[in-house]
Symmetry: C2
Subunit: 402 residues, 2 copies
């Protein structure tokens, strides 16, 4: 490992990054407004939901990133998604962007905006704008954790992390905040994550790195197979350290590796905190003919309610795993498949399964489980993450809005 | 309506069809073996799961139907799927087929075999073969309901129906039995249904009619998005009435219409009895540009756990419906969409939604609800069926096998 985790790290572990998180009144009691501000202009890159229904702030922020300019601030509210709100939604998002830009003496294009929460309600703009007034004096170089709290919806745990690493030009930091935890399904960006670094990275390279990273982390998790209208991963590079990362260098590899580790940790934290989740499941699908095959199979398994409920019930029901693989559309030979739960062999080729049910149930009762599905048919492999499916998921989602 | 339902109708309402259902010991207490026998050789057609993992009996029965010969009997066991059982599974299925054929003085190719239940366990053949001995004397012209009971797994209600209709050559009957109720997901046949008619239909026409029928009924239902390894729809035509149906005639249209009504009733009964279901939801997606678009959208909505839990909670969360449509991959304009729950308008174009929340919640508390999603963008339309998603689904599936 070429990098190390910063204890209690967050997005504000990054040089020149301030943040804050407050309650402004979009939710009844909990924090609902976060602000991230960089002392220096940042290159920016990001990935966005592929849902055809795209929230107003997401449309605006996407344009900013596409334009390739530099940004200084990210404003995020929870409690209201500002999605399915038509023209008024766009106007509201723009107004919040302009209002904040005015207060910070920036141009609106230097402000990324993001929302999460209930779909289809207009933002109460008086509440939001006075929230902007209130949050500005709270900005601090240690406000990352508060910001992480303010972007939560049904999350139970704030998600905040940072790593540091030594590059050829000196030490740099990558830090971020993220949130889950329903409507998580890999079809591009699938939740909110805001990441910053004090390295100097041009926006083209930053986009390449974040796209690759998201593809190997946030795009490989599933809570319930639904994809949100709002979700985005944004990375800011403010160059505070003046350590420049050039394309094609060892530094790029090291940086990508550290960013990917951070993103995978966020992804796992999101799944672990998935609505009603009691277990974190790491799924390895190995021995496939092609990358597409192993990813198709993994995606079908992590999205199968039958697999997820069996794991919730500590039931070593490998039949449901192989049946989910079977409907994935991937090319494989079911008779060759081998399945392990942690190190315990559950299924050998030719459907041989003389494992100890009690031991298997014991393995499944752990809060973290690794399931390996070996197709025995090639060299392609993949890793995805998911959670189990409990009654609590139903309760949370039957009662969430009202 | 050109046909009428037969009160307490079943597959044995059809002339020359006997059936029986008994407990033979594959399950602890409940009935687990069904037999259908036609007095006359039947043309046969069917549709089968698209899951790559296909149960042994399904592989055998598929070959029989492909070969185009006539059949006399269908043997179905519940409690054990005989899936993921390799060569031994095939041998076991063949043995049961041969054993029954021997007792009935038929050739093995005249016997369709089918299994449903737990995946990955070998059939206890001594139990099954002595079950065949026991069931033969129970065959009767009124045994359809018992057969319907014997093919149940987690179903709560036996599914048994028959209709009669007048064709140019005289009156004929179509009757059947079916079962759900987990792993229901439209990707071809998705459960078990055995249907018989005393009309005379050649096997090519019968296949055309059943394929079309399944596509508009069983392929448009979803309980949990999983697709089974075992599921099949089989139709037998024994010609007992000598009323012949010719391709391209009014008779074909009438017959297809009646069969489709029967299949839709079975499909709805399966969804209504879905694991943990408390409500039957009929989803109409109208006003689409193409048939593919409306079906994609309907499929995404009926499979969305977020939509299904909201309905369980009587929550008029139209945002989740439109978000599910958005991730379906279909082409539509979210801003044009209108949504109704029964006759209550929930959403008008441009995201206008000033409905009465209390009224909407009242509508949703009914055991049967029709949701209409009008895309306002064309003439294509479709109807799908699904159920809500309750804690009970989790309990059933966390504890099903062990």
């Amino acid at each position: 490992m070429m990098f190390s985790y910063i204890p209690n790290g967050s997005i504000t572990s990054v040089q020149g990054i301030k943040a804050a998180g407050i309650h402004c009144g979009l939710k009844r009691k909990r924090k609902d407004l976060a602000l991230i501000l960089s002392d220096y202009p940042c290159t920016v890159a990001g990935t966005f939901t592929l849902n055809k229904v795209q929230a107003a702030p997401l449309q605006i922020s996407k344009e900013i990133i596409k334009a390739g300019g530099k940004v200084r601030a990210v404003l995020i509210n929870s409690g209201n998604a500002n999605a399915c709100t038509g023209e008024q939604g766009i106007n509201d998002a723009k107004l919040s962007q302009e209002y904040l830009a005015g207060k910070l003496k920036l141009s609106p294009e230097e402000v990324i905006v993001s929302s999460t929460g209930v779909i289809g309600e207009y933002l109460p703009m008086n509440v939001l704008l006075s929230g902007i007034d209130s949050i500005l004096p709270k900005l601090s170089y240690s406000g990352g954790y508060d910001a992480a709290k303010a972007i939560m919806t049904t999350d139970l745990v704030p998600k905040s992390l940072a790593v540091k690493l030594e590059l050829s030009g000196g030490e740099i930091t990558i830090g971020g905040i993220a949130k889950g935890s329903g409507m998580i399904m890999p079809d591009m960006a699938t939740m909110l994550a805001f990441i910053a670094t004090d390295a100097l990275v041009d926006s083209k390279l930053l986009q390449k790195i974040i796209s690759k990273t998201v593809n190997n982390s946030f795009n490989k998790i599933s809570v319930d197979g639904d994809t949100s209208t709002n979700d985005m991963v944004v990375i800011l590079a403010n160059g505070a350290t003046k350590v420049k990362i050039e394309e094609g260098t060892e530094d790029e590899i090291k940086f990508t590796e550290a960013l990917q580790a951070l993103a995978i940790d966020f992804a796992k934290a999101i799944v672990k905190d998935g609505e009603g989740a009691t277990k974190l499941i790491t799924l390895n699908v190995t021995g496939g003919k092609t990358q597409e095959d192993v990813d198709k199979i993994a995606k079908a398994i992590v999205n199968s309610p039958l697999v997820k409920t069996a794991i919730y019930g500590n039931d070593a029901n490998w039949g449901r795993i192989i049946a989910a693989a079977g409907r994935s559309g991937a090319d494989f030979n079911p008779g060759k498949v081998e399945i392990k739960f942690n190190d315990l062999v559950i299924l050998k080729s030719n459907y041989v399964h003389n494992f100890d049910e009690r031991k298997a149930s014991e393995v499944l009762s752990n809060p973290e489980i690794t399931i390996t599905v070996d197709l025995k048919d090639g060299n392609a492999k993949t890793t995805w993450w998911t959670c189990d499916f409990s009654e609590e998921y139903i309760r949370i989602n039957a009662l969430y809005r009202t």
